[in-house]
Amino acid sequence: MDPSSGIQEPFDLIRLSLSERVFVKLRGDRELTGILHAYDGHMNLILSDVEETIMIVDVEGAPDGRGTVNVAKRKMEMLFVRGDGVILVSPPSRT
């Protein structure tokens, strides 16, 4: 165990982020930031004041192979996120 941060299991990291703004990386090149209000063992999440960012790689018109990345953003006031799409959750940095 790391004595500096009282974390014994990974979910402690999430529990300590309740009511804080978190960053969530999802499958399908999507990212969210929002305030975390609920989660469960599947990593189903309920977030408020959410901003979603969708990365859309435009392969066409890019002969060098590296397509330009277009970004679409939208906001949602309260959102349930199904856990199976979650890749990573990062709490606000505790400094």
Partner: protein, 115 residues
């Protein structure tokens, strides 16, 4: 089980369910089960031009596993209550917890012997 209980409190309210195939359906949440399967009434597909086959559909059953998001109206959620219930469920993580949200008392009722 906590999230299931949350959805139960949202029945008869309008939600927007976004599926993993990008189809977005707005409708009245009629029921939900433990798999987070969802029944919607009075549905409207957000981008009908792209999904014309959905225009005649008035209600639907959505398998929980195909859901990406459910957009909820913030006024229908007590966030403080949610956080407390989440902490309690986390404390009892080793127990199969069946927290019940009691509408009358606006409280999360835990099974006897827990928390």
């Amino acid at each position: 089980m906590l999230i299931f209980s949350v959805f139960k409190t949202l029945t008869d309210q309008q939600v927007t369910v976004e599926l993993k195939n990008d189809l977005s359906i707005t409708g009245i949440l009629k029921s939900v089960d433990q798999f987070l399967n969802i029944r919607l009434d009075n549905i409207k597909v957000s981008d009908e031009a792209r999904h014309p086959h959905m225009m005649a559909v008035k209600n639907c059953f959505i398998r929980g596993s195909v859901v990406r998001y459910v957009q909820i109206s913030a006024e229908n959620v007590d966030t403080q209550l949610l956080e407390d219930a989440t902490r309690r469920e986390a404390l009892n993580q080793n127990v199969y917890l069946d927290a019940e949200y009691k509408l009358e008392s606006r409280e999360w009722r835990l099974p006897s012997g827990i928390g």
